[in-house]
């Protein structure tokens, strides 16, 4: 099960035929395992890893450290859920250390991101402070190198 997961983590579009050949199991077995992984909520989605810098209208990623006052019931979960409902929020994590929540948002401009923080996030009940960072350049994303190309400089035939 884990090996299959590892392969689809790397390439979510790998055909079940190829997966079957690589793992030495039947295609049917691959389908069954994938369905089980999906049904169990282990695989949540299959997405593309996009190199934003190559796009004409690339999206700006902003990372916000948020301190909150935990509620007596439910701790951080309720406020985290409220934040995650915003479509701008791409990822959201509860952290240990000097702040509580780490929020990744995507917007068209830095201005848009700043507006989101000041108008929606900072004003939310329970949020005590925020620190906003703009992402400048992506070197590696989800295990994929974003800057380097794939060159094969080996001799074409060797012993």
């Amino acid at each position: 099960m884990n090996e299959l997961l590892e392969l689809v983590r790397k390439n979510g579009r790998e055909t079940s035929e190829n997966l079957a050949k690589m793992l030495g199991i039947s295609e049917e077995e691959v389908m069954n395992q994938l369905e089980a992984l999906e049904a169990d909520g282990i695989i949540r989605a299959y997405q593309a890893v996009v190199n934003e810098e190559k796009l004409d209208h690339s999206l700006v990623t902003t990372v916000i450290e948020v301190k909150v006052t935990p509620e007596s019931e439910g701790g951080f979960d309720r406020i985290a859920q409220r934040i995650s409902r915003y479509a701008e929020v791409e990822s959201l994590f509860l952290m240990s250390g000097t702040f509580d929540l780490l929020v990744f948002i995507k917007g068209r401009t830095m201005h848009e991101a700043a507006q989101f923080v000041s108008e929606k996030l900072a004003t939310m009940a329970g949020v005590t402070s925020t620190a906003t960072h703009f992402m400048m350049k992506t070197y590696k994303l989800n295990g994929i190198e974003m800057q380097s190309g794939e060159d094969d400089e080996r001799l074409q035939i060797s012993p």
């Binding site: 050949k21 690589m22 030495g24 094969d152 080996r154 001799l155 074409q156 035939i157 060797s158 012993p159």
Partner: protein
């Protein structure tokens, strides 16, 4: 000047008479073409793991640019002795039984030159790595090739060995996991070879450069067989499992007398292996288990894929249980391996190496390396399938 010999005629006869490597001929043809997908490459597609490169860069930063001891850095020899002991249970003294060489290539040359006198016979098994035969000839030895059989999966048998041995036999050169066939030997088969070597009092040169890369069973080294340590030169290196071909790092483990003899040649011809590569090799051994494992796992998936694809085409393969080669039997198409490779290149721009580049018994086979990215392998297999359909 009239009457003077041509340059060609002045070249030493042994060198003149050894033909160019079949690999090089084929390389020349392939390199005239663009956008070839090559399954003809005998080295990893991975670059050397980053922390190994970094170790060399740091050594360079510290100004480590000198010669080392002829034997190689003692700390590296210690690491190697520990590595070999862990794998095989056999201990070698770093001080006088481990020699650092410029690739397994140099180790092979040293071992043969250290032992062979003109006319001595060296038994080896084909299909084989392309250097064995010429290296023996350069040392004025007589290469005696055993033509292993496809019925046996190109695994060496005791009967074949018995048929090859003569009073002049001095050395037996072994290579499992094998380039080009991908075959490995079981423990029992290794023991049979060892019994033969002991009975005929031969020295064994065991090229185990692919020993980390076995996919079904763990590799069993001939040095682990009782009575073999004292008559074996164990050859290994960093090119394959650590993806370090360009660093030119190999080593030999052998009893002190043999190590000293090889060392004499090494000292006067090579002096020492490059220090930066030695520093990198130390890092490779100390830190690298997980990288080797990661690459091996990737090779295994590609192997599975390639094997399954050939199966779909009804093209039998020698069970690819080691190294990173599938040796596929294309004899059913009624053309020579060489012609098959040329036509495949012409029709589909896929390069494979004809089995005959590795010895006559490779006829009918092509070597397909899976040390190339999965995407490329996939396209290559589709093209081979289309090509073979057009043949039948």
């Amino acid at each position: 000047m009239s009457g003077s010999k041509s340059l060609h005629d002045r070249i030493a006869r042994t060198v003149r008479e050894i033909p160019r490597s079949g690999i090089r001929d084929f390389f020349d043809i392939v390199s005239t073409r663009k956008d070839v997908i090559s399954l003809g490459i005998g080295e990893p597609d991975f670059v050397t793991p980053w922390h190994i490169r970094d170790a060399a860069a740091r050594a360079l930063d510290r100004g480590q640019t000198s010669y080392t001891s002829n034997m190689g850095l003692l700390s590296l020899r210690r690491s190697i002795a520990a590595y070999v002991a862990k794998k095989s249970g056999i201990e070698y003294a770093p001080e006088n039984e481990v020699l650092i060489t410029v690739g397994v290539s140099e180790g092979l040359d040293l071992a043969i030159r250290a032992l062979i006198e003109p006319g001595d016979e060296v038994i080896y098994h084909e299909p084989s790595y392309v250097s064995y035969n010429p290296i023996v000839q350069f040392a004025y030895g007589v290469p005696v090739a055993i033509q292993t059989k496809k019925e046996n999966g190109f695994r060496l048998t005791r009967d074949e060995l018995e048929a090859a041995v003569t009073p002049k036999s001095k050395l037996l050169l072994l290579n499992y996991p094998n380039n080009p066939t991908g075959a490995t030997l079981s423990r029992e088969e290794v023991e049979a070879v060892a019994a033969f070597a002991i009975e005929h009092d031969l020295i064994v040169l065991s090229d185990e450069i692919y020993d980390e890369l076995t996919y079904d069973d763990d590799h069993y080294s001939i040095i682990s067989v009782p009575g073999m340590r004292e008559r074996t030169i164990y050859l290994h290196g960093f090119s394959k499992a650590w993806a370090m071909t360009g660093w030119r790092m190999g080593f030999t483990c052998a009893p002190p007398e043999l190590t000293e003899a090889m060392m004499k040649i090494h000292q006067y011809t090579m002096l020492c292996a490059p220090i930066l590569s030695q520093e990198a090799a130390i890092e490779a051994l100390e830190q690298c288990g997980s990288d080797v494992e990661r690459m091996k796992q990737e090779y295994m998936r590609r192997r599975n894929f390639m094997r399954a694809s050939f199966e779909e085409m009804n093209i039998p393969c020698i069970e690819p249980s080691g190294a990173f080669y599938a040796f596929a039997d294309v004899s059913q198409f009624g053309i020579s391996a060489h012609q098959f490779a040329l036509d495949l290149l012409e029709a589909e721009n896929v390069a494979v190496v004809p089995g005959t580049a590795f010895g006559a018994c490779g006829e009918g086979f092509i070597r397909c390396s899976y040390a190339t990215s999965f995407d490329r392998i996939q396209v290559a297999m589709e093209r081979i399938a289309r090509f073979t359909e057009s043949l039948s």
